[in-house]
């Protein structure tokens, strides 16, 4: 084997090893489904249907996402902003919930940088902000 070919083979082996290591790291990191179950599903329930009086359902989040300021609200709401997840996983989780549970994918998808910026200013009064963004229907008399 020539010196050049030996070098190329070594480089290939190194690249293969790096790929394998990256694959192993990716496999060890929880996906958004697992993050949802661990950090959200206790109150919003496994299927995102929510529990009246405790936690709102997530299936109709499209309405909130579509309201002016709604995209920021979904990151600034304390349950999201303060979740013990880094920006990359939190962005992935938001995109999963909106795309898979609410069938209203964020467009463009949340990026980690956007999540990082928004979660730095968590909402003081999420209930009031939500009512401002999506006014509740007047109760029938």
């Amino acid at each position: 084997m020539s010196r050049g070919r030996a070098l190329a083979a070594a480089a290939l082996r190194a690249a293969g090893g790096a790929l394998l290591a990256a694959a192993a790291a990716a496999a060890a990191e929880p996906g958004p489904e697992e993050d949802y179950v661990l950090h959200c599903s206790g109150c919003h329930r496994l299927d995102g249907s929510g529990a009246p009086g405790v936690a709102p359902g997530l299936r109709d989040l499209g309405r909130l996402l579509g309201a002016p300021g709604g995209r920021a609200y979904l990151v600034r709401v304390p349950g999201v902003a303060q979740a013990p997840l880094d920006d990359v996983r939190l962005a992935r989780l938001l995109n999963f919930v909106l795309g898979e549970m609410a069938a209203s994918p964020a467009s463009p998808p949340y990026a980690p940088e956007e999540v990082a910026r928004l979660r730095r200013s968590p909402l003081r009064d999420p209930r009031a902000e939500r009512a401002r963004l999506v006014p509740p229907a007047p109760s029938p008399r």
């Binding site: 949802y36 179950v37 661990l38 599903s41 206790g42 299927d47 529990a51 009086g53 349950g79 069938a103």
Partner: protein, 182 residues
Amino acid sequence: MKGFDRLVESSARSLARRAGRRSFLARLGGLLVGAAAAPLLPVARAAAQAPRDPAPPEDLPGPEGDPTRCEYWRHCAIDGFACACCGGSATRCPPGTELSPVTWIGTCRNPADGRDYIISYNDCCGKGMCGRCACNRNEGERPEYHWYRNNDINWCAGASSQVYHCSVAVVVGRATEPQPER
């Protein structure tokens, strides 16, 4: 009258030919397959996508394999009365009680396969406190930092009755990241 008999007989035979047991079974089969496919519909997709592993090994010797003991492996983060001691089981509420929709979620390591599983500790509500098998292990609880990692909340808040009876320990998935992080 004879004509009527013949008419009834021929229509009964024709019905039997068209609607035999087999066609009933075929339709029942279709219904069962349909019911099995229902969870794949978009409504249930999110739940189906939860990282489920339906069968962690349960053949553990001693108290770690006994749902009526606080040492039971799934009870690592429980705070309450184990439903298996209260007329229910580790996954089923006792008769006369209602499963709370909101719940405390934790993870436990199964000693048989060394893997971590996500456990949902739903409360069973609607009857007075069971009083048997009071377990208070709370591994992973961090109430002073995360309100939702607080096991002292009465999770019956989401049920129609807020009276707490006992807690189940349902495996809802595999955990690649145990709580708390090791």
